[in-house]
Point group: D3
């Protein structure tokens, strides 16, 4: 490259300046700590779980009732190892973080050992039963997912078959990941449930917090922009469309001058059979949408709705302006 | 790993339990069936189609008028093979599915042959002409895309050049995939058109059903959250912004106690030159937005609009609350 | 494959027809031009920048204060080369494009040399100082990002730690990429800033134009569907939720019969400490949301708001319809 | 690139010239035929077989007696499919080849179908039992390999453990691949056995023809340059060193003016317990090295040797030349 | 990891010590020079050349006379670019090296520009005609290779078909690479011919110097250990077996106290139709093996042999030692 | 696939049969043990070592004296971690193996923990100083390699430059890997030195035991088939050609009825400045080839040679047979 050598000479100074910010702005670093859970490993775990939950739809083809036992047994065994390793990393990280926070620990001096053996060992011992318990629950997760698929088929007139739903519907993908992440969340596994749901969020645009409680037969159509908060309670047979927010009404809590971090109920409750149409927003921990209620598109709701009620926007008063508002010249005959 | 061997001993039982659910919840499996279309192969086909439709913008650089014929000829030839294979898989799957549905077939017994030879052969014979027809239509698709690019350039003041639009605009990416998927949809290819548009949906947040009918000069700006339903009719020179839903008004159809699966017109019609601004929602198969009409941001529309009309929300009545609603302490001087 | 040879014989004719469209619809090609910036290379640069900005969170683990200097020095050095190459490609492309536009150049004849040596060399000489300047600014970018992370922690009650925010929050990912892209934009680098923010857009659903001006302590929660236009001014300590549009009010400019391409202020200003809730839409270059104002969910705003004011939708007049609007049979007991 | 466009214009002519040679020198093409066995697929099969034959030494770690059944069951199942596919390709190719040879078929005209359905189906039906039979024999192959490993451990004083032999000894790798390839050869599978042993040849420099017959307890030390011909008979407990050739004495057959293609015995017989040292050459189908005989290094042998005999070169008459034959100046003190 | 931090602290000192050796032992570095040809790029070129020379045997399957033109045209075009780039790198490197050697240049000071523009440009201009000339000669190379394949089929009684030879014979692989490398060598391309033949050497154990001259109909059986020196002349229809060395008799040149670097004839001549059996060694630039002569296995030859002569080792005088020389206990019954 | 389901049903029985052999032939398994060193990780370490030893020749280009410190510092740091991990695995494996051998331990019962924590920790503590010591010695290794490169340049008239030797000569590649492996061998690291030299053996056909002692200025030309035994002593400035064996004379030790495993001197000594030509074989621990002696091609030597002596084969008595021994019809005019 025809580059100027004198400019390149500046790079060491730039490096030094950056390295200085690693002690100044230390919150952006993760130096001299135990390794975090590995993103690729967690993505790999999610892929393996799909193989177990929906055998025949994923990477491995030609599965049949005669070989499925081997394939699943092999996956379950390796999932045991992968889950144990990653859960142990997450637990160890949390331990360190709590310790750091407790004593507001500075960056450790270079002569200090960044890790001691004992927490290392303990974390794997705590992690393994959680990994096994998740695997134990997968059969039940499958039973719930069967109802989710059924609900999608009944709920979308464009669906041609159950196969299409499992293979193509981003809503089911997000729900599946949520259901697994929720089990890990319930088992007290830090970090990884959120990594999993953010993985789904990035792919589908559907952001379900792993802490939310969601009954079977749940269907999200299209889904982009859906947000479901940590303390939502969603009953059985609920259907959501794209852009629906089930959020906190946090800006009413202005007098304490700061946000409470924790699990108090901040997000709404949707009872069995509720339908919420596109881009509706339902906010607040005390807001309850009653059984079989329907919330229309674009509705903004901060209060409870009784069962068997339909809530829609008033027909909007539209301002109509006449005569050719769109005067961009079109490049083709109309 | 310092794991407990006794816990691992439970894994075979967990496997058995999971395998049991493969007969119980059989809708979630794809066992003892012909292979489905392959996701990676379809993604590969889409990538090749981009190379053909926008030569020089993709993987292969240094293309010029002297070598483009070889490159495209080679791609067309391999697209023929790849499309034929995947379309045949989709057709075969549909055949099996119809057969299964017809007789509500149980999981085949292990001693039954999961596939017979004849449908195997036939499907490739049906698939090939569809593959060739798609390739035949690509030249016309390019002519339409030229108008789409032109429309994007005219429609976005931030656009610097046609190159930037082809290279960076997610709206054009989604429209391109839709245009190809729509051709396959029209040729009666099951499954794959939807796989393609979901591929675009995952990447761009724009969800266009392959069944929708869309004229040339179509432009979607930003695009995240756009949903365009299966039976939409969209004219020439239409422009949409992010978050626009062109959906069904299905919750008015409550008396039949179930959704009709099929192709009756459920989604709106947008005539030539219509503009729909961000987060507007237009619903219903009878709703027609007339030529050159403009629908404002956040408008929720379930009735038709005459041509050359602008529809906006009434200026919202805002509740203004005084005095420092946001009391989070800021960490920096204001 | 059991395919019909006669059908395959048509492929050369199809190829010829496609190649013809490469001279007709020449806007869709990039033939006989200098290579564009490479998508994978730009993605690689973004990944390296994350390693430098958040060391220890990315690919390389086991970093500590003793080795971080080597690692970062090595990355800075290779970033210098990669950035110089890609910026030079972008500059060269723009030069060609301007030249082409100026003389409305046709596709060059095959016997014309598509590239000359002089612009080749010059572009790298112009590119290198821009690359070095970006690297020089990274330490300051880190200081700004520290405030962004802090703001996210204070702003989200569900956040457990700073680590979780850096590792899992799509909002921070989009902001980080924006902050780097914005520096390149300010340095007059064409094309690449937009490639970077579209990369973030595809992954997070958050679309921030690299030209926007955004103060420190910026937080976007959930984020899917957020759009921030090119000429926005956003102060310090601002918080946005999913689906917020800060856009142009372009359809008021109907009388000129075409859109002005350029940088006049088309998008709103948000002063320090503003909060905008989910799916709100704020439009127009003259619209100013004053210090510490709060804009409620779903609000559609085209006029300025004074400081310390809360703007919410009037409580919507809801139409309540009684008795079982949702009569889809549920598959489970309620 | 600063290249000359006029030179590039010649490329189409060069292409045409090459394409012409595809009809002239048609032996170097494989056009319009059924696909050959796939190299990568065969390499993949070999890798899977190593996982089955030496579990725990290969890709998959953390195997134990509790999960090995799943892992092997899963491998056996997928090996069944992979072997069936590749064996069918090999059989189909041979059928075509025989047909071609029979009628000295020219390159098929473009309008002729290159494949018909019937042979397609038949080949898989013939292939499957061969694949299953190979899998059935693997347990016995393992018993033989156990003796080979034992022989290596006894035969090499540098060997530290059985583990080292399995993990590091190229001789065992070549023998293992030979043993599997030999079974396929015996089952009448064309092409693939040779692909497998050439795979071993490329990696180890040991070239064992899959047709050779070799007893258990076989050990090759170092191995580079070893050649074992198609019709060799090697007894039990034989040991070879690098560079040993067990070849044909073909140049004695000069009067027929051409080589006989076929399986008549052209290569020597080594009875039980024979040792052959480095670079010895033993030639001829009638040459028999008797039980427990030892052939010394560099010996060239075309006649039989009785049992319990040691054959070494006569102490060579060396010409000694005095005084500093090597006068290259050394760069260091001696 | 449970590692000792104090030990890690030594790493910077170790790094400094290594960096010091980069100025001391500067011959082992390639710092501040133009980039060398890229190994992976050259391997890629070789793979593409195999696709052109043996279409249908390599990566791309389903080739037929209808699409082969596109495929080859596309390959030829990209080979033009790849070859030009790599040849230019090789030429530029040689220029620098010559310049360095001429003035015994020290490592350039950091403030000196390591490259100037002019040689950069020139090298590509010199490289391109060489690249095109190589492509131009490929049709002739194919005609020669047709004779090589024919010779292999006639020469090996174990060969089943021409297909097997092209697909499985390492000898043909090495000869093919040699034939291409030899053309480049003749065109004065430095470095790359040797990289290519070493690539073949690593894979096949056959080491043919690209400078050797070899007639058509050349066959190497098995091949491991074959060495063919730079100034060999090999006629038409020659056959070699494994371990044959055609080398220099360099140790007779002892009186000049150093080796002459250059191209004077150091290696033997083999006239048409010669056969050399396994592990024979033929040395010396004046040694000529006459037409149709045969050199037996293990023969060591430093003098010429007349045409139509067979040269074999005297039947070796073997020492036979009786009674159980091999007393290693065998683990199985004999 | 058109396969027979009944045949597939046999696969579980085949699996069971195989699993049975895992207890019978347990020497071929590595079940329920600590993981072995990882092949890919060791290959990766070797690649990193080449980057450190020959900077600028490998993967990373554009290195110069200004950035080399960062690059090498970063590599040294990660080599520390990788080496520590793999050496610990090797040590742990050896511990287990010794324990197993001592008590001839059966396969552990499923309820026994396969690993205990203490050895786990200890092995990393023993491994780390060995890893650091290797890194510490690399500067000296470089100084030795500088002499090896110099010797190659002086020893091969075909060598054009030092660059060509480092980039293309397999001999130097094998020697480099040997030099590193030898250091590890000397540090008492099990398993990994052999893995490294077998890695070189597979690629170059040169098999140097890591235990051999070899002085600086060592050159191997061509190299395929060279074998250098564990207890060789090779002085300074020695040159070997392809096919040279420096081996044991083990078959004279027949009276003990078994091979002694251990390190007693079994292989020859070559003093300073010795040259050994192609395919010579030198055997025996007592055999000493004196300073500056030359051993000719194909010589078979089991006794010592005085300094400054040349040993060549007696001019072989050749049997010449007249009249056209090679009567294969040639396909071309001679």
């Amino acid at each position: 490259m025809a580059t100027d050598v004198r400019l390149k000479e500046e790079l060491p100074a730039i490096t030094d300046q950056l390295v200085e910010t690693y002690t100044e702005c230390s919150r952006l670093n993760h130096l001299a700590h135990e390794p975090l859970p590995n993103r690729d490993a967690v993505a790999d775990i999610v892929a393996d779980l799909f193989e177990v939950l929906y055998p025949g739809y994923g990477k491995r083809q030609n599965l049949h009732i005669g070989n499925i036992g081997y394939y699943v047994g092999s996956l379950v065994d390796s999932l045991h190892d992968k889950l144990t390793t990653q859960i142990a990393r997450a637990l160890r990280h949390e331990l360190c973080h709590e310790r750091d926070s407790a004593v507001s620990a500075p960056v450790p001096e270079p002569w200090e050992s960044p890790s001691e053996d004992k927490p290392h060992t303990d974390c794997e011992k705590i992690a393994q039963p959680k990994a096994v318990e998740l695997l134990r629950r997968l059969a039940d997760v499958r039973k719930t997912l069967e109802l989710d698929v059924e609900a999608a088929f009944r709920g979308d007139p464009a669906a041609r078959s159950h196969h299409e739903i499992i293979f193509c519907y981003p809503g089911l993908e997000a729900i599946t990941i949520y259901r697994v992440a929720h089990e890990l969340y319930g088992l007290g596994v830090p970090f990884i449930p959120r990594m999993m749901t953010e993985f789904a969020h990035a792919k589908t645009g559907i952001d379900i917090h792993p802490g939310a409680t969601i009954g079977p037969g749940f269907f999200i159509d299209h889904g982009t922009g859906v947000v479901i908060g940590e303390t939502c309670h969603i009953g059985r047979g609920v259907k959501l469309y794209q852009g629906v927010t089930l959020g906190a009404l946090s800006f009413t809590k202005d007098d304490d001058g700061g946000l409470l971090h924790g699990n108090y109920k901040r997000h709404p409750t949707l009872e069995d059979g509720v339908i919420v149409y596109a881009n509706a927003t339902i906010l607040g921990g005390q807001t309850v949408v009653g059984t079989r209620a329907v919330v229309g598109s674009n509705v903004w709701l901060t209060e409870s709705v009784p069962p068997d009620t339909t809530v829609v926007l008033e027909k909007p008063k539209l301002r109509l302006k006449g005569a050719k508002p769109n005067t961009e010249p079109l490049t083709y005959e109309i």
